[in-house]
């Protein structure tokens, strides 16, 4: 077990290193990406650009720049090229917003996804199953940014049932916090509900065909017990692992579109805005932060998988 954790941690560090180099390269190896020219504003003189270049160290070799930027990013002293704001503080400001959104949505999509998937599997082949399937497919076909815009316009702006975007900290006003998060969470969850219900449905149907489910029936167990203890217990394993991965991905930038549409000012929105300006330090920081979340989620999922399924024991 310790060996497994050590190995995973080493793997994690390697992957994160690769991600950081790649991100840095994307913005620096590409032609016309000279940040000094862009920071100097419109129609700068050559000497202005030179000055900026020297001040920020853009004239140094790339590996040196990479190491320095990474030192700043990891040390928390990195500063945006454009807004001159401290990157770490910006991320810390956005994090509770992104986490609130992700946690709320994850709970919604797991609950509804499992309920719909189970219902579909139990009614497999009947009209109600086909209806659920269709609804799920509509769900996975709705672009988040479009759905969000429509919901916030019609339910928020026109009907006035929900606030039209924005965020209220939990510590200031718990009710307002929840109230502001209803639409964003629902919007983000729709897509996942759709495809979790599909995954669970086929997973349950697969499990129902297993020999041990027939054994459970042969033992004279009630249908409820067969379903909960033998079918669901096994078919939830893939869903739970998926859940971990998706939660990591959502925190790590999967919620960008939702944040932008509802103007939540989370980490994702910060990243999207920084990327638009080719602002390397925040992009590097957010990408690393996101990759870190995804890799951690992957690792936790691997461990959880071993805990849920005794056949896979980590050595």
């Amino acid at each position: 077990m310790t060996g497994f954790v050590v190995r995973r941690l080493a793997q994690m560090v390697v992957v994160l290193f690769a991600v950081s180099v790649l991100t840095f390269a994307i913005f620096n190896v590409i032609p016309n990406g000279d940040p000094a020219a862009r920071m100097a504003g419109k129609s700068p003189t050559e000497s202005q650009i030179e000055a900026i270049r020297a001040e920020w160290g853009f004239d140094e070799p790339l590996p040196v720049q990479y190491v320095r930027t990474m030192e700043q990013v990891l040390g928390g002293s990195a500063i945006s090229y454009f807004t001159q704001l401290n990157v770490r503080e910006e991320i810390l400001r956005g994090l509770p917003r992104t986490l609130s959104l992700a946690i709320g949505a994850a709970i919604l999509w797991m609950a509804f996804g499992v309920a719909l998937g189970l219902l579909g599997a139990m009614r497999a082949g009947r009209a109600s199953d086909r209806l659920i399937t269709f609804v799920a497919l509509v769900g996975v076909s709705l672009p988040v940014f479009w759905l969000g815009a429509l919901l916030s316009h019609y339910l928020g702006f026109k009907a006035g049932w929900f606030p039209n975007g924005g965020y209220v900290p939990l510590t200031e006003d718990p009710l307002g916090w929840a109230y502001h998060l209803v639409l964003p969470c629902a919007t983000l969850a729709v897509l996942f509900i759709g495809f979790y219900s599909r995954v669970l449905r086929s997973s349950v149907l697969d499990t129902m065909g297993e020999d041990y489910v027939r054994t459970a029936r042969a033992k004279g167990l009630g249908e409820r017990q067969v379903l909960l203890r033998h079918v669901l217990r096994n078919s939830l394993i893939p869903i739970v692992t998926l859940w971990g991965l998706d939660f990591g991905a959502v925190v790590a930038g999967g919620a960008i579109l939702t944040e932008v549409v509802f103007d939540l000012q989370g980490v994702g929105q910060y990243a999207a805005e920084s990327v638009g300006q080719l602002d390397v330090p925040p992009v590097l920081a957010v990408t690393l932060f996101g990759a870190f979340f995804i890799v951690v989620a992957n690792t936790i999922v691997d461990i959880a998988y071993a805990a849920l399924d005794p056949r896979i024991r980590v050595t």
Partner: protein, 323 residues
């Protein structure tokens, strides 16, 4: 002549009427996109980027501003010109929608094709050879996987949109659609390559692969003529869903301003500009959004039918969504 596994699957698919209807819907959408110039010249008589900020048209016998003085464009009309209304610059929304469909569908189809190609190659080679080849392939996929999809798309899109890309003979101009295609294709490779690799690993354990080796077949022949035919159903099952994902990601990137560059229309950038005028002219966001939903839904329903027909026990393709 016997019944090939292919023919059995196609027969099952033929019986799935819902899937066929939605498959046909997708074909209709593609045809509509192809017919965009026809509609522009014969029905609407307006080019997609022809503005008309001060013109008037006749509605119910009255002359109406295409764009009113306070900047509100007219909505959908029962007539060829401005069938779906105008946008803030007086351009014909229907015409732009059809031309946008060309861009969105071209990018989606090409990106999905490229993803399938890359993923199959990577999965096949990694799974077959195992060892260090597999280790290298897997860690590369892990790195791409670790990037948040949209963030990676946006970053690559932004960077390339400024400078274009030059790798040896391959040259992508700044602002070209090829950039979107490559970005989207690369982003989705791990989602398809991983299950294919897994399947190759399972197939390698089957005795027919050993049998081929026992006949003296080398790696290339084993991969191409023993393994690949057994991967086709997986690839076929993935294909419609990959196209749907690619179309959605293209729309998202264009929505964020890093895909198709205006004034060239795509559904994503039309929604982006439409959302800004949601209050005065909701049709500008709703129309391209509906087209997008319809396209993706058609592909998803058809894809679900394909999955049922070809590989009923696989739910792997549903793990691909990380928007």
């Amino acid at each position: 002549m016997g019944q090939s596994p292919w023919r059995l699957a196609l027969r099952r698919l033929r019986r799935d009427r819902v899937a066929l209807v939605f498959g046909a819907l997708f074909v209709v959408l593609v045809l509509a996109a192809l017919a965009a110039p026809l509609w522009a010249s014969a029905v609407a008589d307006r080019a997609p980027d022809r503005t008309n900020e001060t013109g008037k048209i006749e509605v119910d016998g009255r002359q109406v501003d295409v764009v009113s003085l306070d900047g509100v464009p007219i909505g959908p009309q029962w007539r060829g010109e401005y069938f779906l209304g105008a946008d803030a610059n007086g351009r014909d929304v229907m015409v732009r929608l059809l031309y946008g469909a060309r861009n969105s569908l071209l990018i989606g189809l090409a990106a999905a094709l490229l993803t399938a190609l890359l993923a199959t190659m990577v999965g096949l080679v990694a799974g077959y050879f195992g060892g260090w080849v597999d280790a290298v392939a897997r860690s590369t996929l892990d790195v791409i996987w670790a990037f948040p999809v949209i963030l990676l798309g946006v970053a690559l899109g932004t960077a390339l949109a400024v400078g274009g890309l030059r790798i040896g003979p391959l040259e992508l101009e700044a602002g070209s659609m090829a950039i979107s295609i490559v970005v989207i294709a690369v982003v989705y490779v791990p989602y398809m390559a991983r299950p294919i690799r897994g399947e190759v690993l399972a197939l390698r354990e089957r005795e027919f692969v050993e049998a081929a080796h026992a006949q003296g077949a080398g790696p290339l022949r084993t991969m191409a003529s023993e393994l690949l035919p057994n991967l086709t159903s997986t690839i076929v099952v993935f294909a419609p869903l990959m196209v749907a994902n690619a179309v959605l990601l293209e729309a998202a990137l264009s929505f964020l301003g890093v895909g198709v560059v205006p004034p060239d229309p795509s559904w994503g950038n039309m929604i982006d500009s439409g959302v800004e005028s949601m209050i005065t002219a909701p049709h500008l966001a709703i129309a391209p959004g509906l087209m997008l939903v319809l396209t993706v839904l058609a592909l998803n329903v058809f894809g679900d039918g394909v999955r049922d027909a070809f590989d009923p026990r696989s739910s792997a393709a549903w793990g691909t969504r990380r928007l």
